[in-house]
């Protein structure tokens, strides 16, 4: 059984993810960073993707019996990453012109389809998010043709609608063949720039596809990746993760600064398939980034702005947030606690509609020199991700199996918005669910439990006291304060929850 219940903070992060997923179309409140045109590492696509990854590790490792809590949120996040506001930057970025590809801009053209060539920092997130959904929920939702449709049409310009239809199979296949064609070095982000970091999500996608279909593309790709990067070095000469390879000149660019975000992001993701390597390098790499603060707090010195062509690019780099996630993935509890303590002390933790986040703050330090910089990616997503993650959480996800046993076990298949779930797991066939209703958001206050009604005789307990017996589809409540808690609706059990937390247990009578 899980040792710990989710804390109020962890529940708050989950609720914040859910709140953001529920914002109306093109309402990106709290998510806007300082870069223009979704051009940097804090763009909406990254926030949407890493909320999904955080939900995935939380569901898998902490609340495995609550698919109904996670699945709708993930679907909404996937809906959002398909919106043109998220991917239309590619129409411009595909044409090159950046310092690394300016010489190629004459040969490049405006490309509307955001996944057809390069742009792995978008396509791999769509791929891996869809496959995560279908893997975790034993679903074929995104196998349907056209289920991943990218469409833009404007009444005012641009002529006919642009529409590009994919699904988990065609998109995975497309990215796979790009990977093959590039000798497994990876698929480029911006033209000519193959980043290590941005190819890790694609590898996750291949693995998930293998888990669903029984293939072995992830093993093929990672073996090829090792061979391809052996020519350049996954690590640069200073022991940090090499940033990228320029395709045409075969020049590798190191993490020269070194930038904390680059090591942390790459290390977090690569851990899923290269755990020993990542763990072996972590202590030395992270040591240079951490800065001790008061009362055992730790912070991360922000990397300097990128400079190119005589200009500074002031982007959301998310150093603090990524190092925090990295520490959580490495199981480095002391560092994780120190960083989260710093965030709670200096980064204005804020509760909004029952959700917890750290609001954007462009001021790098306070008057005492404490880091206060918070990018939306860090404040909305990464700090929550770190708090929800478990040691080797991504590794565990990569090495998970498709769980078809859910069809035989009691699980929470629908969770009303106003319910906090701090425990949901099945141990030896017994469901344990700790539930509490909140008034911070609207909702009906109910949770639906499947695979109980119509499946023999069950005893339902609340805080270890019997509150109802279920025989087939008949429920017999025990007199007392929970007499109206358990209902049967068709073949579903519906629990009505209160503002006091209770642990409900569903035990089948043998």
């Amino acid at each position: 059984m899980t040792e710990k219940l989710l804390t109020a903070e962890q529940i708050g992060h989950l609720r914040h993810f859910d709140n953001l997923s529920r914002q109306q179309t093109n309402d990106w409140s709290l998510m806007q960073g300082k870069a223009t045109g979704q051009d940097d590492f804090g763009g909406y696509r990254f926030q949407l993707a890493y909320m999904t990854y955080a939900l995935a590790v939380t569901h898998l490792h902490r609340l495995p019996a609550a698919p109904g809590l996670f699945q709708p949120t993930m679907q909404r996040l996937i809906d959002k990453i398909l919106l043109p506001e998220v991917w239309m930057y590619w129409r411009d970025t595909s044409q090159g012109g950046a310092p690394f590809n300016a010489h190629l801009s004459d040969s490049l053209h405006e490309e509307w389809d955001p996944v057809v060539r390069d742009n792995i920092m978008y396509s791999a997130y769509v791929q891996s998010m869809a496959l995560l959904h279908d893997h975790l929920f034993d679903s074929d939702r995104y196998a349907a043709p056209g289920s991943l449709a990218l469409e833009h049409w404007s009444f005012f310009w641009g002529g006919e609608a642009k529409r590009f239809e994919y699904d988990r199979e065609t998109l995975n296949d497309h990215i796979y063949w790009q990977m093959v064609q590039n000798g497994y070095l990876g698929v480029a982000c911006e033209p000519n720039c193959v980043f290590q970091i941005c190819n890790q999500p694609a590898i996750l996608g291949f693995r998930l596809h293998d888990l669903i279909t029984g293939g072995n593309r992830a093993d093929e790709v990672t073996a090829g990746y090792e061979r391809a990067w052996a020519d350049f070095g996954k690590l640069d000469e200073n022991g940090h993760y090499s940033m990228l390879v320029l395709e045409d000149s075969k020049t590798v660019l190191p993490n020269a600064a070194p930038a904390p975000w680059a090591d942390a992001w790459c290390g977090t993701l690569m851990n899923m398939w290269n755990r020993d390597f990542v763990h072996a390098n972590y202590p030395r790499q992270v040591a240079g980034f951490l800065r001790p603060g008061p009362d055992d707090t730790l912070s991360v010195t922000p990397s300097p702005p990128m400079e190119a062509a005589g200009r500074q690019s002031d982007n959301d780099s998310c150093d603090f947030g990524w190092v925090t996630v990295w520490a959580s993935e490495m199981g480095d509890e002391r560092t994780l606690e120190g960083l989260l303590a710093h965030a709670d002390r200096f980064m204005q933790p804020t509760w909004r509609d029952g959700g917890l986040y750290y609001p954007r703050n462009d001021t790098v330090t306070d008057d005492d020199g404490n880091v206060t910089l918070v990018e939306p990616m860090a404040g909305n997503v990464l700090l929550g991700y770190a708090r929800l993650n478990v040691p080797d959480g991504m590794w565990g996800l990569y090495n998970s199996r498709r769980d078809s046993s859910r069809s035989d076990q009691p699980v929470l298949t629908a969770v009303e918005r106003d319910i906090d779930v701090s425990q949901a797991e099945v141990v030896d066939g017994v469901l344990y669910a700790r539930l509490q209703r909140t008034r911070a958001v609207p909702g009906e206050g109910t949770v639906t439990i499947s695979h109980v009604a119509g499946r023999g005789r069950w005893t339902v307990l609340a805080d270890e006291q019997p509150v109802a017996r279920i025989d087939g589809i008949t429920v017999t409540p025990e007199p007392g304060p929970f007499a109206k808690t358990v209902h049967i609706n068709g073949d579903q059990v519906v629990l009505s929850c209160t503002e006091n937390p209770h642990t409900f247990t569903f035990r089948q009578d043998r």
Binding site: V116, Y166, T170, L171, D173, H174, W177, Q178, V180, Q181, N182, G183, Y184, E220
Partner: protein
């Protein structure tokens, strides 16, 4: 757009005859890309594929093995024909640099010249070691990795071809 679909090419075979993807339609095509100076991957793959074809017996008659060079500057038709003499089931294909490049694009093949001091010409051409299976209509049907065993490949080919009534 999203997968191999129906790759096309316009090359010459090891007897100097012009060939395209239409030349071999009506037979299953087993396509491997390589170069004659290859020391390890190509000889291993060609031996394995030849053994698989032997094992398939009559079924192999429905297959046309093709070996497409990724090193057209050295791999002339004569060079290819000589190189493939130990693997008589194979037809070698080569062409101009542009024609080979186009074929590589169609099959999503990676191959890039690399400095190699052990080679007499000073370079080798690391390449994708995938064997492609195209249907008699020239459509992508499957591909096999270099790590596949003879037995696994034999079973796979039998299974795929059996679905279309092969002996």
């Amino acid at each position: 757009m999203t997968s191999l679909d129906q790759p096309s090419f316009s090359l010459v075979d090891h007897d100097g005859r012009p060939v395209t993807e239409n030349t071999y339609q009506g037979r299953w095509q087993l396509v491997f890309f390589g170069f004659t100076h290859c020391k390890v991957v190509c000889p291993r793959a060609l031996r394995r594929l030849s053994s698989v074809l032997d094992e398939l017996g009559e079924t192999a008659d429905r297959l046309q093995p093709l070996y497409i060079s990724v090193d057209p500057e050295r791999d002339t038709p004569d060079v290819l024909r000589e190189f493939l003499r130990p693997y008589p089931r194979y037809t070698g294909l080569t062409g101009s640099v542009d024609a080979v490049e186009q074929a590589k694009q169609e099959f999503r093949v990676f191959a890039r010249r690399k400095y190699d001091p052990t080679d007499p010409d000073g370079y080798s051409v690391p390449h994708t070691a995938i064997t492609y299976l195209l249907s008699p209509e020239g459509k992508y049907a499957a591909h096999f990795l270099d790590s596949i065993t003879e037995a696994e490949m034999t079973v796979s080919l039998r299974t795929i071809l059996a679905k279309t009534g092969a002996p």
